[in-house]
């Protein structure tokens, strides 16, 4: 396929947030088309397009929709995940601001395909400004008969309700998100049962990322075949890449999956500030494994290519660090984040994240020892895979990868320690003994 330059989700059209402008550019035509199709045919279209979730797990969206029971005596729900709290990620916010109707249209099509009468849009509480913008878009769409009972005379009806979060990263985890909507603390649930069987209030529920849903109208308008040929074959379409850190032109850039990481950094992002060398890159938000500066050449930004180099696409939040960066300071800050955001249900994550933070802070204070490096790794390894949700893994992976890629920096710091000792007991033992 020739180079694909089209922007599907955030095209360069002024005032696209305005419903009239959106309609002039073909807006809500996909909804009209979908309403003439059988619901199962809509799902099938999405399934064949090979659209994958944009929230980090890359699960096939159409397949997820087929898990919903066709006949259900209970109400069914769609939850759009706009919690967007992964450090380095700021894409959904752009959709709410610049093209909210493509997202709402996607919600309506998804609701029609799955026979859903209520869509909850879970938006992080800090996005007060964007909640207002989105509510305005919902009101405008409802006034035109796109949302509500008997949409466009089809007999099908659904409502879209914004649910405002209140500051909890964990609520981006789908089952914690559902608990939050139920008015609970954001505790992830043990799976199975999966949301399609037992979701909000025990009803069949599908949770999709905001960006994922925004792709749906494009697929319905242009057809699955066209969509499936964009970018990387196994994860087609465009992604909204967020580029931040030591970069000349940080921002959100839409590009096909499989775009070179170096192109995003140097062409879109305008290169590194002050022409410095790159020390490290986080490719997909703070939970993904780091790449050293010399490893980024030739790396493509799609799920399979990043997996091949030992990391992940995550949410597409690229964080660039220049040659002067203190990587231990950065990983200590990231670990503090996971410690703060751990919901506290599972001991390995609740305690382990705090221990990792303490050990990293010892290095920052010049008190880390050589044995601390292995202790840190040991704690990380014991969190990984031992928790209900993926937050524990998300905290462990970056620590493991920084030790792997920058062990020499830890060793350099450790040598400066005034009183080297070989074993540092975990903090709880220290407290118990004193």
């Amino acid at each position: 396929m020739p180079e694909f330059n089209e922007k599907l989700i955030l095209p360069d059209i002024a005032d696209l947030h305005n419903i009239e402008v959106y309609e002039q550019h073909g807006g809500y035509q996909a909804l009209r088309k979908a309403l003439t199709m059988q619901p199962a045919a809509v799902t099938d279209e999405v399934k064949k397009s090979n659209l994958r979730g944009r929230g980090g797990a890359c699960f096939p969206t159409g397949l997820k929709w087929t898990f919903m029971p066709k006949d259900s005596a209970k109400p069914k729900y769609l939850c759009a995940n706009g919690d967007e709290s992964e450090p380095g990620t700021f894409k959904d916010r752009q959709i709410f601001e610049f093209n909210p109707h493509i997202f709402l249209e996607g919600c309506l099509i998804a609701a029609y395909a799955m026979g859903i009468q209520t869509v909850f849009v879970y938006v992080r509480g800090e996005y007060a400004t964007w909640i207002k913008l989105l509510q305005k878009a919902i009101d405008d769409a409802a006034a035109k008969g796109y949302i509500g009972k008997n949409i466009l005379g089809s007999g099908f009806g659904t409502e879209i309700v914004i649910y405002r979060g209140a500051g909890a990263y964990i609520c981006g985890e789908e089952s914690a998100l559902m608990n939050s909507i139920e008015g609970e603390r954001g505790y992830p649930r043990v799976k199975p049962p999966f949301p399609a069987q037992f979701g909000v209030w025990g009803n069949p529920t599908t949770i999709n990322n905001v960006e994922t849903i925004a792709n749906v109208p494009v697929i319905i308008n242009r057809g699955w075949e066209w969509f499936s040929k964009i970018g990387a074959p196994k994860q087609p379409g465009t992604l909204l890449f967020g580029i931040s850190g030591h970069i000349n032109k940080p921002g959100v850039y839409e590009a096909p999956t499989g775009t070179l990481l170096t192109d995003l950094i140097y062409k879109n992002g305008g290169g590194v500030r002050n022409n410095k060398k790159i020390k490290a890159v986080i490719p997909g938000g703070s939970s993904t494994n780091w790449l050293r500066g010399e490893e980024i050449e030739g790396v493509k930004m799609d799920a399979d290519s990043l997996k091949a180099v030992g990391t992940a696409i995550g949410t597409g939040g690229i964080i660039v660090m220049d040659e002067d960066t203190d990587v231990i300071r950065v990983i200590a800050r990231i670990t503090h984040f996971y410690h703060h955001e751990s919901c506290g249900q599972c001991t390995p994550c609740r305690e382990g994240c705090g221990w990792m933070e303490k050990i990293l802070n010892r290095f920052l204070a010049g008190q880390g020892t050589l044995a601390d490096i292995d202790l840190l790794l040991d704690v990380a390894n014991n969190i990984e895979g031992n928790t209900i949700c993926a937050l524990g893994d998300a905290a462990a992976w970056p620590v493991q990868s920084v030790i792997k890629k920058f062990r020499n920096e830890f060793e350099k710091r450790a040598r400066k320690t005034p009183q080297a000792h070989s074993y540092v007991p975990p903090p709880h033992l220290v407290t118990a003994a004193s």
């Binding site: 109400p75 967007e84 709290s85 992964e86 450090p87 380095g88 990620t89 700021f90 959904d92 916010r93 209520t118 992080r124 509480g125 800090e126 996005y127 007060a128 400004t129 409502e159 309700v161 649910y163 405002r164 979060g165 209140a166 500051g167 909890a168 990263y169 939050s180 909507i181 139920e182 008015g183 609970e184 603390r185 954001g186 209030w201 967020g242 580029i243 931040s244 850190g245 030591h246 940080p250 921002g251 959100v252 986080i282 703070s286 939040g317 964080i319 660090m321 960066t325 300071r329 950065v330 800050r333 990231i334 984040f337 703060h340 955001e341 919901c343």
Partner: protein, 154 residues
């Protein structure tokens, strides 16, 4: 504890959710918007209003970082110090704000005008460093911009 307008809004919300518990966060938001924080009396009020145990309300208020269980100043300055902001000098920004206001992170000035809090990623990484002043995002900050901003907040 809640205005007539919010109580009416609550009646509309009741129709959207199958349980009273689901109204916990929306009602707490209303309380915080009206009072700036959620006092123990307010928690009791919400518990009675929604027919829920007080421990549930307390649990929710203390779980979510945006709910203030202590009073905050007229201007709540929430400075992001997470990775993208950190890389562009957010730590210095916090130091500067605290130095100007003569308080530490988490504290409120004696005249109750400012509270400074270090917060986690606010989804503003492309416009780092940044802080939130009450509901508004202030982005691409420098020390000079912060000084100007603080002098404008009365």
């Amino acid at each position: 504890m809640l205005s007539e307008q919010n109580l009416r809004k609550l009646e509309d919300l009741r129709k959207k959710y199958p349980t009273e518990k689901a109204l916990t966060l929306p009602v707490l938001w209303m309380i915080q918007e009206e009072h700036g924080w959620i006092s123990p009396e307010a928690m009791k009020f919400v518990a009675d209003l929604l027919h829920l145990p007080l421990r549930h309300i307390y649990g929710v208020v203390t779980f979510y970082t945006m709910f203030n269980s202590k009073p905050v100043g007229k201007y709540h300055l929430q400075v992001c110090t997470n990775v993208s902001c950190q890389l562009l000098g957010a730590e210095k920004l916090v130091d500067h704000v605290c130095w100007r206001l003569k308080i530490k992170p988490g504290e409120t000035t004696a005249d109750s005008r400012f509270t400074v809090t270090e917060v986690e990623c606010l989804g503003s990484c492309g416009t780092a460093p940044m802080m939130q002043v009450n509901d508004r995002y202030q982005e691409n900050l420098t020390v000079e911009k912060v000084d100007k901003l603080l002098s404008e907040l009365k």
